[in-house]
Symmetry: C2
Subunit: 387 residues, 2 copies
């Protein structure tokens, strides 16, 4: 039978709740979505029959008939999430409650694109072997600029344009690709420091700066998925050429390369670890001055983006956290001075990320689950299960 318009919308909403706030009880979900108890009964029964959810008795909370906790079904759908990084790749399998299982991590043997993609493809293959039909999608996070399903620029990997589709070749699975900074922002907005915010800005400094604007839990990824490259807006010195091809990129002002410049040290091969090392020397006064400048450059840019986007909250990741911690006054001053006057009375809070290393995979998991819990995807699953 063909799916009817909006037929699975409520079921999708229920699954969305389960993914965003794992451990939620059936009664709580019903309250949240404004469902009547009869509807809740019916929807959960449907989801149970389709092997999407199971119900387990919930610990009782005072009087009243005890309710149940909604949990993913042991034969329910899963998504494979993968993160491609400079020296290694990680993967995990996600169930409908967003829990990561089967976590793996492997160093690259070779960094040639075809070798790395072959390794990822093998990972997809073994997940498919283990989970079979339950595996519905692959969500891949990469440390580089993404455009649709291509990696355009990945300085940390030393890659230029690479088609990522080989990762799922031969499996018939859809491949979702996202930038790592974008996905860590999604994690913060859904279940981290920015949870509940309608509009949130996430910025993460590693080598250069990445980030994303998140509106109602979805990243503003632009026309081709390359949105969020905040490192390449001209907040910096226009005379400096960025490896990206533009001039005066913010990127060049806020990471290890900028610290080295201020300290008149040679450009570091590994700006991330260099910056961490420099931050250890914060009691040396030239270091403190350099860190202050970089923290101020970071804060000024953030203030500009706050003016532009009016986020409810800003979350920081990576080196941005330690940079601010090392020069809190320089940061606070530059932030305040960069804001439009009317923002200064109650400026958006700038919070440290709550997810650190796991944020990227969690964000990839969130978008992967979104993909398999749309009403149309559920209709497809239902058709398959009831055959």
């Amino acid at each position: 039978m063909t799916a009817r318009r909006g037929q699975w919308q409520t079921a999708a909403d229920v699954l969305g709740q389960v993914a965003r706030r794992p451990g939620l009880t059936r009664a709580a979900v019903a309250r949240e979505l404004g469902l009547s108890t009869s509807s809740a009964t019916e929807v959960t029964a449907r989801l149970r029959d389709l092997e999407l959810l199971t119900e387990t008795p919930a610990p009782s909370q005072g009087r009243g008939r005890p309710t149940t906790v909604l949990r993913p079904h042991p034969r329910g759908p899963v998504v494979l999430v993968m993160e491609l990084r400079q020296a290694d790749w990680r993967s995990a399998v996600v169930t409908l409650d967003g829990v990561l299982v089967d976590q793996e991590s492997k160093r690259h043997r070779s960094r040639r694109p075809d070798a790395v993609l072959a390794a990822l493809q093998a990972g997809v293959g073994s997940a498919q072997a283990k989970y079979g039909d339950r595996l519905l999608a692959v969500s891949l996070a990469v440390a580089g600029t993404v455009r649709a399903d291509h990696l355009m620029q990945a300085p940390v990997l030393g890659w230029s344009t690479v088609d990522l589709n080989p990762v799922v070749a031969g499996t018939g699975l859809p491949l979702l690709v996202g930038n790592d900074a974008t996905l860590s922002g999604v994690a913060e907005a859904r279940m981290g420091a920015a949870a509940g915010a309608g509009t949130a800005l996430h910025l993460i400094v590693e080598v250069g700066i990445g980030g994303t604007l998140i509106i109602d839990g979805s990243p503003a990824s632009g026309a081709t998925g390359a949105g969020g490259e905040y490192g390449h807006i001209p907040f910096g010195d226009r005379s400096r050429l960025c490896p990206c091809g533009a001039h005066g990129c913010w990127d060049l002002e806020i990471d290890g390369r900028a610290l080295a410049r201020h300290l008149q040290e040679p450009e570091p091969d590994d700006p991330y670890n260099y910056a961490e090392a420099v931050l250890q020397r914060i009691d040396e006064s030239p270091v403190a001055a350099a860190v202050g400048k970089v923290a101020a450059a970071l804060a000024t840019g953030i203030a500009g983006l706050v003016n532009a986007h009016d986020p409810e909250v800003v979350t920081l990741g990576g080196l941005a956290i330690s940079l601010r911690a090392a020069a809190p006054d320089a940061f606070a001053t530059a932030y305040s001075e960069g804001l439009m006057t009317f923002h200064r009375a109650a400026p958006p809070a700038v919070l440290d990320s709550t997810h650190q290393k796991t944020g990227v995979l969690r964000g990839a998991a969130a978008l992967g689950l979104d993909h398999i819990t749309t009403d149309t995807a559920l209709a497809t699953w239902a058709e398959r299960t009831t055959l």
Copy 2:
């Protein structure tokens, strides 16, 4: 009876189509939304019974049974749209097809906030007297920074924080407030140069620069509605203090004030008309040089925002159009050089707005219609009509 979840979703979708593409036939709407003919019959019947739509015979297009054009019902709901500008205010009434009727325009007698708001309130009153229950909302565009239903900064009006609620006081109508630049961007994205684009960036230069990022037809308005103040990100000279309170705002680099600086003329009282006058003198070589610099500053900033947001298309309004036209080479060069390399092969088109003076009201109309055609709003209307 209480409204059921999603009960009016399809009806809302149909009305959305009618508003976005007026003159659409019933058959076309059904195709567009993937409705079966039986559903189309039913939905239109329902909308007819509720005095939301009427059907008029469509001009026949070849063989086959003729279809009908969906038009707003003569007793259907309307929205009052208003635009508050420096010297005057304009208003119009919008029907469900987005057509503006009863257009009016009145100069301010006094520019004191209370006097202006009283005049607007009187306008609302007369619209309510004429349309009665049919008038469901007021959508107000203002030339200034908006935060929820307050105007925070309006340099062109000389106002600081002003509560705009008095405009609808005593009417019981909901007030929707939007920045003028944001709303003109909505008009471009819905039915202008950026029609069909998923992500579009709109920038309009008048005094300073305003704009908005539009995703799937909705502006990214931020937490409080102040989103889109692109003029106040630090693309400019950090030593210059902006009236907004921040330093180095882009605003200061791309309007009449910047032209005057480059020409070493005194700061103009009316930067907009000053800039238009300067552009008439483009054949003087110092003027050409100054315009080139300003056009380049505009293009460089646009390129940075393209890097950040990856829009499908950029639309220009106000002076931005004539600035680019006056210095096309400077603009094109700076645009290209500001882009990340991978964008340069196929950079987003930068198009002139198709709506000029009417864009703001059309954008306000679009958001107003959105507000009264949500499924919940339709349920309310239905309840009222069937009583």
